[in-house]
């Protein structure tokens, strides 16, 4: 039983190491400060319910899938009741798409008076939005 416990502990530790590895570094060509500013700007703009401006930051080939109307329908019901901004935090990392292109992902936690939302934003090298998810 003790041996089983040790094996499980080793597997859990390995899983923990795996989950933490390599994702915090940004790929070459990305500047951490620029990504952070861009991500915060998007979070601010979205919580100000300005979907048109955010839709304008989406990469050309994704503009239809992430149009202002799509964003408003998907995010509006949650964002409208958030209240005044209180604090935010941001985590960033890099990833490679199936096409081999490198992207940066920023997770922005946005705490407001009446709730908290977390945006997961993916950017290409020109800092165009290539992915937007909100929880």
């Amino acid at each position: 039983m003790k041996r089983l416990f040790l094996i499980l502990l080793a597997i859990a530790a390995a899983a923990g190491l795996f989950s933490g590895c390599g994702s915090e570094e940004l790929p070459d060509g990305f500047n951490r400060d620029e990504v952070e500013s861009r991500a915060v700007l998007i979070a601010e703009t979205l919580t100000a319910l300005d979907y048109e401006t955010v839709a304008g930051m989406v990469r050309e080939d994704l503009k239809e899938a992430l149009s202002a109307e799509v964003l408003e329908n998907a995010l509006g019901p949650t964002l409208e009741g958030l209240g005044a901004f209180e604090s935010s935090s941001i985590t960033m990392g890099g990833t490679k798409g199936s096409d081999g292109e490198e992207y940066t992902v920023a997770v922005v936690s946005w705490k407001c008076e009446d709730g908290k939302v977390t945006f997961t934003l993916s950017f290409d090298k020109d800092l165009n939005i290539v992915g937007l998810y909100m929880k």
């Binding site: 989950s19 985590t91 990833t95 977390t118």
Partner: protein, 230 residues
Amino acid sequence: MDISAVIFCITVSIILPVVAVAFTSARQRGTLKAALLGGATFFVFQVVIRIPVLQYLLPEFSWYLLFQATNQTLYILMLSFTAGLFEEGGRWIVMMLFLKRRTLPDGIAFGLGHGGIEAILLVGVNAISMLIIYGIPYAEPLPIFLAGVERLAAICSHIAFSLIVLRGVTNNKPILLILAMLLHTLMNFVAVMMMSSGANDVLTELYVVLFAIGVICFSLIFWKRTEAPS
């Protein structure tokens, strides 16, 4: 639209597990307890513990969302591994503590209960709601049919995993628990990787079916070979 796919799916994911448990317990007295314990294991370790942790607790942390978005393969591996860890670990704990009679029919009934409740909750309930809400569903029949096939294979796999874990309990060999966890992880990981890399749905389900056939044959042969001489 053809309704036979929905009927097949409901038959496999609701009627079959219930009938199989009833049939097994009628033929082999006392196996109903094992089936109920198997069902309870899935409910407690997946529905009550694992799923809320993955869906509500971990997404509260930014590092987890970042991990999810930046390490797709590792994320799928983590999901597959935790399914094996919780379900097989749960089986081991429940069998050790509550399953006092540990025969082959008990192991089969335990797996039927586990896989049966999973099929009912994950697929059966949805198929019934679809039928009630839409009458004849608008969805394509092939994915519904494949969902039924997948449940059938999953029930067989759960029987196999239950037998491997139960043998570990009867022979006091925790390594068999690890084996069941690894097999469970492998089954889920390859299937989800196939789906996420855009493999054909039929091909993915074919893999799940072949895996189930392989693991059920292995577990039955292994059970017989490791039986203590009476």
